[in-house]
């Protein structure tokens, strides 16, 4: 059996939930693949993993994999995840969110999860648009681009999700494109192994909504665009902000140690018990 077929048989609900609903050529499958490969390499047991999603095209992904999976409401996946991690700290909790999910309706939860530093990994599918509802602009739609709700051009400015996570206090933040699938595998692996709140912003293409309205070509054209506009963070540090305009900075943006919520919580309980005795 080929390696990839083995992975499919082991991790996907291949006999139950397929065919999937993603558009042919969508980048979302690459992200799911990267997660599965990372988990396989680390050697987590399937039942140790909880994969939680919000809603959107990205939110569909947990349906297809044989972990503990939870499909939650729009924007709230991180809050469900926080509850799960605190109740069962031994589980590895991973959250999938769309850019709209994570930074529009769930933006508040996102920054607070980062600040609180619960040991959860958040993987964000940034396709610059609301894919599932048909191509409305999202908080990551760049200024000047089109969407069904911005038929001429978009007048708001985009969030930089990874930088937002850094500022909000996440201990590990990385960014990668689906074009560089191997790099994405490695980045997700690091994020899963990191203790504390880790964020991987994945730049993916929605050629059907975002690409079509903005005449960006096929899925392949959009992948090539990712290739041609990515700059590794080490190289980016030597460039001016003008040179970085419109570029995707990839790699590990932050890897730092900060107190983890659960540990702090345990410490306070211990201390309280000491005082009580």
């Amino acid at each position: 059996m080929k390696e990839v077929t083995k992975l499919i048989h082991k991790y996907l609900r291949h006999d139950k939930k397929f065919p999937h609903v993603s558009c042919p050529g969508c980048g979302n499958g690459i992200i799911l693949g990267a997660l599965i490969r990372a988990i396989d390499r680390i050697g987590f047991a399937k039942d140790e993993i909880v994969l939680i999603s919000g809603i959107g095209c990205s939110g569909r992904m947990p349906v297809y994999v044989d972990f503990n999976t939870l499909h939650t409401t729009h924007g709230r996946a991180l809050t469900f995840a926080t509850g799960i991690k605190l109740a069962k700290p031994e589980l590895t909790v991973i959250v999938f969110m769309g850019d709209g999910d994570a930074t529009a309706i769930g933006g508040n939860h996102f920054i607070h999860a980062a600040r609180r530093n619960v040991d959860v990994s958040a993987i964000i599918f940034n396709n610059n648009i609301y894919g599932m509802t048909g191509g409305q602009f999202s908080p990551t739609t760049p200024y000047g681009m089109k969407a069904t709700t911005a038929p001429y051009w978009h007048i708001e400015h985009a969030f930089k999700i990874a930088e937002l996570a850094v500022t909000a206090g996440a201990v590990f933040v990385g960014r990668e494109t689906v074009y560089n699938a191997k790099g994405l595998d490695a980045l997700i692996e690091k994020a899963l192994l990191k203790k504390g709140f880790s964020v991987v912003e994945t730049i993916t293409h929605c050629h059907i909504q975002y690409g079509r309205y903005n005449r960006l070509g096929t899925a392949v054209d959009m992948l090539k665009w990712q290739r041609d506009n990515s700059i590794p963070v080490e190289k980016a540090q030597k460039l001016s902000s003008e040179e970085l305009e419109g570029k995707i900075i990839t790699g590990v943006l932050v890897d730092r140690e900060l107190p983890i919520y659960q540990h702090e919580y345990d410490r306070i309980r211990e201390r309280a018990r000491e005082i009580a005795v």
Partner: protein, 384 residues
Amino acid sequence: MKKVLTGNQAVAHGVLLSRAEVISAYPITPQTTIVENLAELCADGILEAKFLRVESEHSALASIIGASMVGARTFTATSSQGLALMHEMLHWAAGSRLPIVMANVNRALGAPWNIWNDQTDSLSQRDTGWIQLYCENNQEVLDTVIQAYMIAEEVYIPVMVVLDAFFLSHTSEPVEIPEGGEVDKFLPKYHARYKCDVNDPHSFNLMVSPEYYQEFRYKIQYAMEEAKKVAKRVDDLFAKSFGRGYGPIEGHLCDDAEVILVTTGTVTSTSRGTIARMRERGVKVGLLKIKMFRPFPREEVKEALRGAQKVAVIDRNISFGCGGIFGHEIKATLCDEEKRPQVFDFVTGLGGRDVTPSLITEIIEYTCQNERPEGEIIWAGMRG
């Protein structure tokens, strides 16, 4: 001018003709095309309105509450989870007595996820102080949006115009579009009686002590009762201007009916055909369509059901632990009648399950054949 419009396009046309000034919304299936249509109309300058696409439904309603407080005519639209998320702001819109109009596309609430037709989303907001008007077809949708502004701006109560997911929102029908000038005559520019104005300052929503709070509530209830009269007047005036009227309820073949079927939304249209065929077979059955759910048109409903022996209510919704919401409302309405018809409450069509002519026939036949219902709820159209 006649055009073929989906229910969502009919909403957008209604808002366009009503000249809303500030629109704010967040996309959700099956409401999304309302927002997209309006975004385009605003961007093209056909509708002179500000369009805000915010980061959640809660913010959508909150932002137009702000706009309404400074005297703008406002609009939002949502569905299901989005309406649930607005819940807090629904109370605030009504409590602040703002004449906001919204369209809600009736869609099932999670969990589990479902995007199809179900009335529980809007009906579970019944105590928020909004007028609720349910529509049967796309023409009624367009007309009701225009009427909604006129009602809201007279009684200072927000209005929710409700339409069925997909059966209306995404289904195309010929719709007569009134001339813009005619609508302007019918619905003049909005002049807020109270607003935040630097030249004439007012405050909204400061803390109110127990000595006063109850009176605020009394006034909303009073305005709701007034809304019944106002809605009738507006509908009559609309009928005079445009040749179409709806009423808070519509009775069809009720006068000599032994059994009256009570419906809302698109189930009404399906039932019209079924009833006609059953009449041909000699079954004395009538139909009562309920358009206005809040304020509930108690007197009209009593009057319409007075001669019937039995009433069969179709509820595409459920209040868990109680029953169908319209059924419950009808039972409460009839409780002080001297001669009460037996009410049969059928819960069916949840989460988009089809309510077909044959199912409606079964419902009517069950009602004819049984002295009383088997319980508070009769589950119809269950999987075998």
